[in-house]
């Protein structure tokens, strides 16, 4: 067909529909990626990005719609079919075997090609050199840092010589410096004529890297644009559908009394792949927010567990409101004024199938919800209702099951349940993880209001922008060690990024500020 003018795009999806019970994940979505293009797929959690990616990977089959690969209609029957076409995937969650070496991991995916280990190792080294993906092919994966593991995933994908590379939120586990290195690699791959689909909700990255962006909202495609020509605010508006005013913290107040003090806290990990804590010193005072940055798996969960009482530490290593509490149970610490917003909302912060009223009893039992050993269901419902009203939780009512709420609304409920107990010390893990932009702003405002009211707040997050926006002081954790704690104004993304990768000299004594 000589008259067919320009080359067809690498992949063209048109009218893709995929429904799950009670939810239309993809509603007639069109998307095309051309060779040599870095294309962004933008959208909030639940917008339908992952479903669309799974359809391209052959993991999920669409209910309706057409997929064309280099102009020809295809049905992607499974992951192997996707690979044969030339679609390579790099997933957000690592799919490597911890106890195998890099070469062994790659060999497993390479099938028959992987039998000649020596040739394979040579090929890995060659690819690594060409694309600047420094990896030692003979090391075991469990020794590798997160950034290295991602490079292994990319190498494994490249070995298949894919024409289209799909990366699902690849920077969510990287420091800013590591992300830059990844972008350089991606630009090189695109320059060779491969298509790249980059999935993210980080607007600055998309603007720096991508030439085109397809934006999804609520399962629908709401627009396509050149992100380089847009501002972060205009992209956010497209994603969310309305203007978002970010929360800003007011001037720091004179810090009050010491509400949390960790002194030389050492803690062995609970499981073999955990991270031991080394001599952590940290204080959080009334009326301030202290933020701790770090790439996941660097001791955050151990640190939080030691503060909340899920792990026990030496009695004087943890003091809450001045009282030594290292060996005390969570219930005792709550009585001292501790409230906790855990990382996992369903299954830890709330019981999925229980109603909001019952979930209120989980941590607010002392607020008159239990008397004489019996649960006061009327008081529990009233408490849940108060949380729903005060914190703008969208729910059917106090009787709604926790898992009937969206992630953002459940997080608002958990936050409200903890805040209505007037805590003296609030510990929040990744408070806005996976929450849409609007709910995130509401959560930030609530945290800042609690700070105004004089509570001490400790936040652990992977989101640098969040930490820098609402914290008074920040630090980074890496390999179970804590960096110096400095005022947020003095920290800056660059320096925090270096600290996240462990570059902070001796220890907390070397106070940089």
């Amino acid at each position: 067909m000589p008259s067919e003018a320009p080359t067809p795009p690498l992949i063209r999806l048109s009218g893709i529909v995929k429904a799950y019970p009670g939810c239309l994940a993809n509603d007639r979505i069109d998307l095309s990626v051309a060779a040599g293009e870095i294309h962004a797929l933008l959208g909030e959690n639940g917008a339908g990005k992952s479903t669309l990616v799974k359809i391209m990977a052959g993991v999920v089959s669409p209910d309706a719609g057409e997929i064309r690969w280099q102009g020809a209609p295809v049905a992607i029957e499974g992951p192997a079919a996707a690979r044969r076409l030339g679609i390579g995937m790099v997933f957000q969650h690592f799919t490597l075997f911890e106890s195998l070496t890099v070469t062994e991991n790659v060999a497993l995916a390479a099938g028959t090609k992987g039998r000649d280990r020596k040739a394979l190792a040579g090929r890995i080294a060659e690819l690594a050199a060409r694309y600047g993906l420094a990896v030692d092919a003979n090391r075991h994966v469990h020794h590798l840092a997160v950034g290295e593991r991602q490079r292994v995933e990319i190498l494994r994908c490249l070995l298949e010589e894919p024409r289209l590379i799909v990366l699902d939120e690849p920077t969510s586990v990287l420091t800013p410096q590591e992300a830059e290195a990844l972008f350089a690699t991606l630009r090189m791959l695109a320059a060779e004529g491969r298509g790249i689909l980059f999935i993210s909700h980080k607007l600055d990255e998309v603007r720096a890297l991508c030439q085109r962006a397809t934006i999804l909202r609520g399962g629908k495609r709401v627009g396509e644009c050149d992100p380089r020509a847009e501002s972060a605010a205009s992209l956010a508006r497209l994603m969310v559908g309305s203007d978002v005013t970010p929360a800003r913290r007011g001037a720091p107040k004179a810090p009050g009394g010491e509400m949390l003090a960790l002194a030389k806290l050492d803690l062995a990990p609970a499981d073999p792949h955990g991270v031991p804590l080394h001599a952590i010193d940290l204080t959080v005072r009334a009326g301030e927010i202290v933020g701790i940055a770090g790439v996941a798996g660097n001791g955050q969960s151990e640190l939080l567990a030691a503060v909340t009482g899920e792990r026990l530490a030496p009695e004087h290593a943890v003091r809450i409101a001045g009282v030594p509490a290292g060996r005390r149970a969570s219930s005792y610490r709550r009585k001292l004024g501790l409230a906790v917003i855990p990382e996992e909302r369903l299954g830890r912060g709330a019981v999925a199938e229980m109603s909001l009223a019952e979930n209120a009893v989980l941590t607010a039992a002392d607020q008159g919800l239990v008397s004489g050993g019996m649960v006061q269901s009327r008081a529990a419902a009233a408490y849940a209702k108060a949380v729903i009203e005060r914190f703008g939780v969208v729910a059917r009512g106090a009787g709604a099951a926790a898992d009937s709420l969206s992630g953002g609304n459940l997080q608002k409920f958990i936050l409200g349940r903890e805040m209505l107990q007037n805590p003296k010390l609030l510990v929040a893990a990744h408070p806005t993880w996976g929450v849409d932009v609007g709910a995130a702003a509401a959560i930030h405002r609530a945290l800042l209001a609690l700070r105004e009211a004089g509570a001490a707040i400790l936040i652990v997050s992977e989101d640098l922008d969040e930490l820098l926006a609402i914290s008074d002081r920040v630090a980074a954790i890496c390999g179970g060690r804590l960096s110096p704690v400095v005022p947020a104004e003095e920290a800056g993304r660059e320096r925090l990024g270096q600290w996240m990768s462990g570059l902070f000299g001796g220890g907390a004594e070397a106070h940089a500020a």
Partner: protein, 357 residues
Amino acid sequence: MRLRLEARTETARWLVVATPLLAAALTLASGIVMFAALGYDPAKALTSFFIKPIENVYGLTELAVKATPLLLCALGLAVGFRGGVWNIGAEGQLTMGAVAAGGLALAFHGEEPGWLMPAMVLAGALGGAAWAAIPAFLRARFNTNEILTSLMLTYVAVQFLGYLVHGPWRNPQGFNFPQSRDFGEAAIIPLLMEGTRLHLGVILAGLAVFAAWLLLDRSHLGFQIRVSGSAPRAAAYAGYPVSRIVWAGFLAGGAMAGLAGMMEAAGPIGKLQPLISPGYGFAAIIVAFLGRLNAFGILLASLLVALLYLGGETAQIDLKVPPAVTGVFQGLLLFFLLGSDFLTRYRVKLVRRAAAS
């Protein structure tokens, strides 16, 4: 075309009522087919299964007598099961309850003090709880798998009872039969109705239903147990110690099973013998789940399973149906009941293969 299962987002109330009815209808239908295929009159077979055992007062009292140990064991087990504590050893705990209470009865044989009956009730509950404390300790302290330990201890308990009635506790005037003396007057639970085997324990079992409902559905401890069972990480977050839930589950299960054992020994049996229970402790696991781990549901389930026991015996006597056939029929009913439960949570859909390419 193919079948596809989809999780229901919400369970309609009518389904909760309709599925047991569907299960009953399916059981009757398959029962008719099965009995007809084996050459029995289906109408007669079903009548002797479901109607004959309870067509007179005596039958009804027998139903209550059979249901009592099932009910007690299942109520206790539900406390553990709700908390994810898998006590499979109610049969052994029942046996040890009977041993403890029976030991007391034999020790005061001939003296017949007035306090003997309450003391035996206490001894039964304590005996079962003590036996359950072993797997509870092992789980709470060493994180041992309680399914294995509680099950294995069942066989230890049964052998221990066998040793006692073959040896030290054997009736000296019993012509070497492996059984104890008959319990004295004060060690036999008073009958509620002359000419039947209906004893006071039935009333205690009724009270236990109410107590279990309060504990499971209304108390803070019951709430903690439920959270631990359905979301262990939420329990850790809220600060509910795992050991408390393990102990509560096992002690409740053991005490109730021990009580059931005491009532069997001091009720219908009236002595200790190698076999105190025809598997009540195991059947109670089914009863507990059939009743959806709810106290009142368990009451209904225990009556149904007791009826199946009685109906099976009646059918064997009346129609000379072999025990294997009654076993199959009992299994069918439970299969359909638990299977239809599935329909309240999933819907079955016929779908055509999508994307006609």
